[in-house]
């Protein structure tokens, strides 16, 4: 930030400069701060559903355990790795811009991010959700309560309602994010970003990291909360 100020005279000439600001530094500050405020809004958005989850997990502990153990933890874990890797490539893209590397380097990292995002969604939809559908685990789409679940079975659909709503909302955020990253990649390809001006890239990065962090919370809450390995080891 400090060395940005010395470039002020140059900033005012930048073609991405918008008239309502005094200089490029103010513009960049405003943009980043705006993204943080937006993320605060996102936290409250997800916060509502997390709060509801906590209430029902406390009420229907056994049903949530059964539901959680029906999820495929291997796919969930693999996807966690994929998503963390995509955060890394996103950070590398921003770093490339900050270090003044060529647009092509930034584009490469951005496309890698998109690729990892698409892999995540593909695993989610084709391997996980499709299997759930065939196993009649989607509430509202022919959910079948199995006799072996016993008394707790009646509330297993509740767990899956949360599962599909939360992961669906998370996937929706990724589906929104991917085209935006592609637009940013086109801008990077045209060498729009350099060490002085890379605010849009940074802002998309913030958004992408946020979406990753949501997953970091979703993964244990949905996949691990059944504690299947704990109980297997214990008995």
């Amino acid at each position: 930030m400090a060395d940005m100020a010395t470039h002020n005279a140059h900033h005012a000439q930048h073609d991405a400069f918008q008239h309502q600001f005094e200089d490029m530094e103010q513009q960049r500050d405003a943009g980043t701060f705006g993204m943080w405020v937006f993320l605060a809004q996102e936290i409250m958005f997800f916060g509502g559903i997390f709060a509801a989850y906590i209430v029902y997990r406390a009420l229907f502990h056994d049903s949530f355990e059964i539901g959680s153990n029906l999820l495929n933890v291997k796919f969930g874990a693999a996807n966690t790795v994929v998503l963390i890797a995509s955060s890394l490539t996103m950070a590398l893209a921003i770093h490339a811009a900050q270090a003044g590397k060529k647009g092509k380097t930034q584009v490469m990292y951005l496309l890698l991010t998109v690729l990892l995002g698409v892999i995540f969604l593909a695993v989610k939809f084709t391997f996980e959700w499709t299997a759930d559908y065939h196993e009649h685990l989607i509430p509202g789409f022919g959910f079948i309560i199995r006799p072996e679940w016993g008394a707790a079975g009646s509330h297993v659909p509740m767990f899956f309602s949360f599962y599909f709503f939360m992961t669906g909302l998370h996937a929706l955020h990724m589906i929104v994010g991917i085209p935006i990253i592609l637009i940013i990649a086109v801008m990077a390809w045209r060498n729009k970003f350099d060490e002085v001006y890379h605010a849009p890239l940074e802002m998309v990065g913030l958004y992408w990291h946020f979406v990753d962090i949501v997953w970091i919370f979703l993964f244990p809450l949905l996949y691990l909360v059944g504690g299947r390995y704990l109980s297997n080891g214990g008995h």
């Binding site: 600001f21 705006g34 405020v37 958005f45 509502g48 789409f141």
Partner: protein, 548 residues
């Protein structure tokens, strides 16, 4: 007056027609629909919410007509739709955006000496989102209406209602994002774009109020968005989260709904309080009494507003202990609210008060808001709430806050800044007359409802026992007076837009950066960035150190 923040305003002395301003810079429709100018977007919002106000008001008229007769004039099912559509439209499409999206949009950059909001395109986007949301809701109206009440309580809304719940909920959901974007824009703008010398404690109190409101927009609105999303899924797919038949809890819906919708009450009243501080100081020619107290009371209201939602649920199966805590917290909101009322009245003390139309609204606000606030304490007390809950007492209470408070402040603010917005004056005699008509009509409409509620008449019923008829007829008579009171300003505002006398840059002799530019302002607001060297409301012309 000329000792304000910037020494000379070029083009000051020219009549407004000869100078290019934000209205005359381009007349094409496209230039309006694609504008990035916060002032034009404020006008787009002004037109849209005025339309919605009269649609919502139309439903209120039908309700009051129905209640003239104890047996009712319309079918109970129709009446359910009337009060639901009235509530949904007035709350989400008029009151919530009213002051922030119109006066706030227009004034936030002008008051802090900026050329525009930080994100002009997002600002325009927020208006389009509002329009899309309004379109969904109007579709719900035309295609048969909603009958759930504005609160959309489950399981009625999710399972049993046969009305247009989904389009109405989608409308509210979508419109929420226009509020979020407005709040985001204000927070960033107020943080990052204040003119040189304009420190936080030199800001006009309207800005503090807008800031506090924006915090609620950002932290509250997403929660109702997710709640309505879940409600929609519940209705379409029966996912069970709010459905008691499959283990869900309908009371959870109420918790999540009021987590937003109680702070939303403060979204409606906080901007009004901000307007009040501007009006009271301008028309009593005094600096506000206790500036920092008024400023921080806005933030205090915003924070506490998130902790009181349970007072809507004292009789809804909430634990007594939770009720106790929520009751205490609700009483705490009264403290910052009272601070404001006391400080406004203390500002009047020994001021040179004049009674222009905006000031009449401001004085009306003090009385009506105080009544609305004090009756709120009846409802925040656990024992009295058991008696009053679900009666017309509640209806009267929140209309004293939302109409007597928020709408009075909105109209006062509109009258105050109308010369700045349009460059024209409205007929002052008519304006004072309308203010009095509204005050009388309002009290005649809603005061009898306190009595009705206390006597036990429940809200949301199309019929009532015959002994309540006199008070109901009084209320309906008041509503017709109130309706006339709202139409008079509509007429003279439209008239003055073209034929009103030229206002000049500062017809009230008021302080604040927005009065230092020509009226209407040029697109860039200020010819050069103003430098602020004094406190807000420096009507005495003293230096800052004298006030410590």
């Amino acid at each position: 007056m000329s000792t304000t923040v910037i020494a000379e305003i070029p083009g000051h002395e020219l009549p407004s027609e000869e100078r290019v301003n934000y209205l005359t810079v381009d007349h094409s429709v496209k230039s309006w629909l694609l504008t990035h100018d916060h002032k034009r977007i404020a006008l787009l919002y002004l037109i849209s919410i005025t339309l919605m106000f009269f649609v919502g008001g139309f439903f209120a008229v039908l309700m009051r007509l129905n209640l003239i007769e104890p047996t009712g004039l319309v079918a109970p099912e129709t009446y359910n739709k009337l009060f639901s559509m009235h509530g949904i439209i007035m709350v989400f499409f008029f009151l919530v955006p009213s002051i922030p999206a119109t006066l706030g949009n227009f004034l936030v950059p002008m008051m802090i000496g900026a050329r525009d909001l930080a994100f002009p395109r997002i600002n325009l986007l927020s208006w389009y989102i509002y329009i899309v949301g309004a379109a969904f809701t109007m579709y719900a109206v035309i295609s048969g209406g909603v009958d759930t009440g504005w609160t959309f309580y489950t399981p009625y809304s999710s399972t049993f209602s046969h009305s247009q719940v989904i389009p109405a909920a989608v409308g509210v959901f979508v419109t929420g994002f226009s509020s979020i974007l407005t709040g985001l824009n204000f927070i960033v703008t107020i943080h990052k774009m204040r003119a040189p010398g304009l420190t936080w404690f030199r800001l006009p109190l309207f800005i503090w109020a807008m800031y506090a409101t924006s915090v609620i927009f950002i932290l509250g609105t997403p929660v109702i968005a997710i709640t309505l999303f879940l409600l929609g899924l519940e209705r379409l797919l029966h996912i069970g989260i709010f459905d008691p038949a499959i283990g869900g809890d309908p009371i959870l819906f109420q918790h999540m709904f009021w987590f937003y919708s109680h702070p939303a009450v403060y979204i409606m009243i906080l901007p009004g309080m901000g307007v009040m501080s501007e009006l009271i100081t301008a028309f009593s020619r005094k600096r506000i009494f206790g500036y920092t107290f008024v400023a921080f009371s806005s933030l205090a209201i915003a924070v506490i507003s998130f902790l009181v939602w349970g007072h809507h649920m004292f009789v809804t199966g909430q634990s007594v202990y939770a009720g106790l805590i929520f009751s205490v917290l609700s009483f705490m909101v009264a403290i910052p609210s009272a601070i404001k009322v006391f400080n406004w009245t203390a500002t009047l003390y020994k001021g040179s008060i004049s009674y222009e139309a905006p000031m009449l609204y401001a004085l009306g606000f003090i009385g009506l808001f105080t009544m609305g606030g004090l009756t709120g304490l009846f409802l925040a007390s656990l024992a009295t709430d058991v008696h009053l809950n679900g009666t017309y007492f509640i209806v009267a209470h929140f209309h004293y806050i939302m109409v007597g408070g928020a709408v009075m402040a909105y109209l006062g603010g509109l009258h105050f800044w109308w010369p700045k917005i349009t460059g024209r004056l409205y007929p002052d005699g008519w304006a004072r007359f309308a203010a009095l008509v509204i005050f009388v009509g309002f009290n005649l409409t809603f005061f009898p409802q306190f009595v009705l509620g206390y006597l036990g008449m429940p809200r949301r019923y199309a019929v009532y026992p015959g002994e309540f008829q006199v008070l109901n007829v009084m209320s309906s008579a008041g509503a017709s007076i109130l309706g006339v009171g709202y139409i008079i300003p509509l007429v003279y505002f439209i008239w003055s837009f073209k034929y009103g006398p030229i206002a000049g840059p500062n017809p009230w002799g008021a302080k604040g950066l927005e009065w230092t530019t020509p009226s209407p302002p040029p697109t860039e607001n200020f010819e050069e960035v103003p430098i602020v060297t004094e406190q807000a409301y420096n009507y005495a012309g003293t230096s800052e150190s004298a006030h410590g």
